[in-house]
Amino acid sequence: MEEGEARAPPSPSSTLEKQFDDFRHRLDESGSLRERIRGVAMEIESVTRLMHSSLLLVHQSRPVPEVLEKAKAQIGMLKELFHRLAEILRECPGQYYRYHGDWKSETQTVVSVLAFMHWLETGSLLMHAEAEEKLGLNNSEFGLDIEEYLIGICFMSNELPRYVVNQVTAGDYDCPRKVLKFLTELHAAFRMLNLRNDFLRKKFDGMKYDLRRVEEVYYDVKIRGLAANGDSMGDQGIQGES
C-alpha cells in the first residue's frame, strides 16, 4: 500500500502461456477440420437439392421411372461425398459427435430424398440399414445416426399429402388408399419410440397432419365412388384403418 508495485512481477505466467498456446493450436486445427467438413456438407446439400428438384416432377404426373432415373443418377455423387466426409473424420477418431452438427441437417434431407425415391419405387419404407447401404456407409466406421435417419423419414412423410393430391388430380384414384396404408403403418411404427422432447419429437408430432390430410383425400375420393373398389393390391383391412 505504501509503495506502488503496479507492474506485473515475475509470475508463473510462462507455463500458463504455454498451455494456452497449445489450446490455440488445437482449436485452430479443429476449426480448419470443421471448415473442410462444412465444405463437403455444402456439396452434399447442393447435390440433394438437384435430386429433390428432379423428384418434384413427380407432382406433374411425369412417369415415375423417368423421374427416378434422373434422381438416381446423383446417388453415386452422394456416395462419394459421404466417403469424403468419412475420410475427414478418420483424422479425428472418436470425435464423430463433436462435428456431427455440421452435416446433420444435410443428412436428414438426404435420407428424406432417398426414402421418397425408395417409396416411389417399391412402396415400402427405406430402412436404416438400407439407407446406409445406399450411401456406402454400411461397412464404414462412419455411420448414419439413427436419430438423423428418423428425422429424415419424418421429412419424407411431409411430401406425401401433396403427392396424393396431385395423383388424384391426374386421375390415379387408387393412390390415396396406398399412401394411407403406408403412412398409417409408419405412424404406428413411430409411436413405438419413446421420444424425448427434442426435434425428432416435434417432427413426429407433425406427421399426424400429413396422415390426416391423406385421410381426407382418401375420404373425398371414396365417398364419390371414385376409388377402385376392392383390394387390387392384395392388402386387406385398409378400410378399417381410416
Partner: protein, 283 residues
C-alpha cells in the same frame, strides 16, 4: 439366437464410443429372426426395424439420464468445495484450504468417479451436453483450490492425470476436453472476484492484487481462444461476465489504492465493509 447375438455385440462394441450409432443397425441385419415379442399378425419388417430403433433410443436416453444425474452430483459437491474456499480469512487460511482440498479429493473419488463410470464405453462427445455442466463446475473448484494454495493455474493435463486412476485400464478413460476446461476457467473468474473483494475487506490487499493479475492474464488469454471454440456463443456470454468480474476487481484494488490510507483502520477490523469499495452491487 440372433437377438442374443445383438446384445453381445452391443456390450462388445461399448468400449468403442464412436460406434454407438451403429447398434441398431447391427441388430437390424437379422430382421425377422428375432423372437417376436409381440407375436401378432401386425408384425412387419417396419415394426421389427422400429423395435430396434426403439431399443437404441431407450438405451441412449437411459444412459443420458444417468449421466445427467451423475453430473448434477458433481456440480453440487464442487459448489460445496468452492463455498469452503470462501470461508477463508487471514487467520484460518491454512486449515480452510486443507479442508477444501480434502473435500475436492472426495468429490473426485466419489462423484467424478461415478460420472466416469457412467460414461465408460460411451461416446464422450455425444453425451457432452449431459455432463458438461458438472465437469465445468469441477474444473472451477479444482482450479480455485490450486490457485489459493500456490497462486498458479491448474493445467488441463494435471486435472486429466488425476482422472486416470478412476478408470480401469481396458476402458477408455474420460478426459476433460479443452472446451469444458475453458468454460470452467471462465467461471473461475467470478469466484475469484468474490474472493478478492473478501480479501480486501479482510486487509489482504496483496492477495487481492495477486488475484487481479491472475484474472487479467486469464481473461487476456481467453479473448484469443473464445472465437475459435466449438460453441462460441456460450463462451461469448461468459466472456462478458468475465470482463465485468475483472473490472470489479480492478476497481476494488483502485479504491483501496487511492483512498486506502484513510481506511486503514477499517481494513483491519473484522466487520466486512464493502460499501467504500464501490462494489455494493457485488452479488
Amino acid at each position: 439366437m440372433f437377438s442374443v447375438y445383438a446384445f453381445q455385440e452391443f456390450s462388445l462394441m461399448a468400449p468403442k464410443p464412436q460406434r454407438l450409432h451403429r447398434i441398431a443397425e447391427t441388430a437390424l441385419q437379422s430382421p425377422g429372426k428375432r423372437p417376436r415379442t409381440m407375436a401378432t399378425a401386425e408384425s412387419s419388417p417396419m415394426k421389427d426395424a422400429f423395435t430396434k430403433y426403439a431399443d437404441y433410443l431407450n438405451e441412449l436416453n437411459d444412459k443420458r439420464e444417468r449421466v445427467v444425474k451423475a453430473s448434477r452430483d458433481v456440480t453440487i459437491n464442487s459448489k460445496k468445495v468452492i463455498f469452503q474456499v470462501h470461508r477463508m480469512s487471514k487467520s484460518n487460511r491454512e486449515e480452510v484450504l486443507e479442508k477444501a482440498e480434502k473435500d475436492l479429493a472426495a468429490v473426485t473419488e466419489q462423484y467424478v468417479a461415478r460420472l466416469v463410470k457412467e460414461l465408460a464405453g460411451t461416446d464422450f462427445w455425444k453425451l457432452r451436453r449431459a455432463y458438461s455442466p458438472g465437469v465445468q463446475e469441477y474444473v472451477e473448484a479444482a482450479t480455485l483450490c490450486k490457485f489459493c494454495k500456490t497462486g498458479t493455474l491448474l493445467n488441463l493435463d494435471e486435472i486429466n492425470a488425476a482422472l486416470l486412476p478412476l478408470t480401469d485400464p481396458p476402458v477408455e478413460p474420460l478426459q476433460i476436453n479443452v472446451l469444458d476446461y475453458l468454460l470452467g476457467l471462465s467461471d473461475l473468474t467470478g469466484e475469484l472476484m468474490r474472493l478478492a473483494i473478501g480479501r480486501i475487506s479482510d486487509g489482504e490487499l496483496e492477495f487481492a492484487e495477486k488475484i487481479c493479475r491472475f484474472v487479467r492474464e486469464i481473461y487476456r488469454e481467453l479473448t484469443l481462444l473464445a472465437p475459435d471454440m466449438d460453441d462460441s456463443h456460450e463462451m461469448k456470454t461468459k466472456m462478458e461476465t468475465m470482463l465485468q468480474s475483472v473490472v470489479k476487481i480492478e476497481n476494488a484494488c483502485f479504491s483501496v489504492r487511492v483512498r486506502g490510507s484513510e481506511y486503514i483502520p477499517l481494513l483491519g477490523s473484522d466487520v466486512p465493509n464493502y460499501s467504500f469499495l464501490g462494489v455494493s452491487d457485488l452479488e
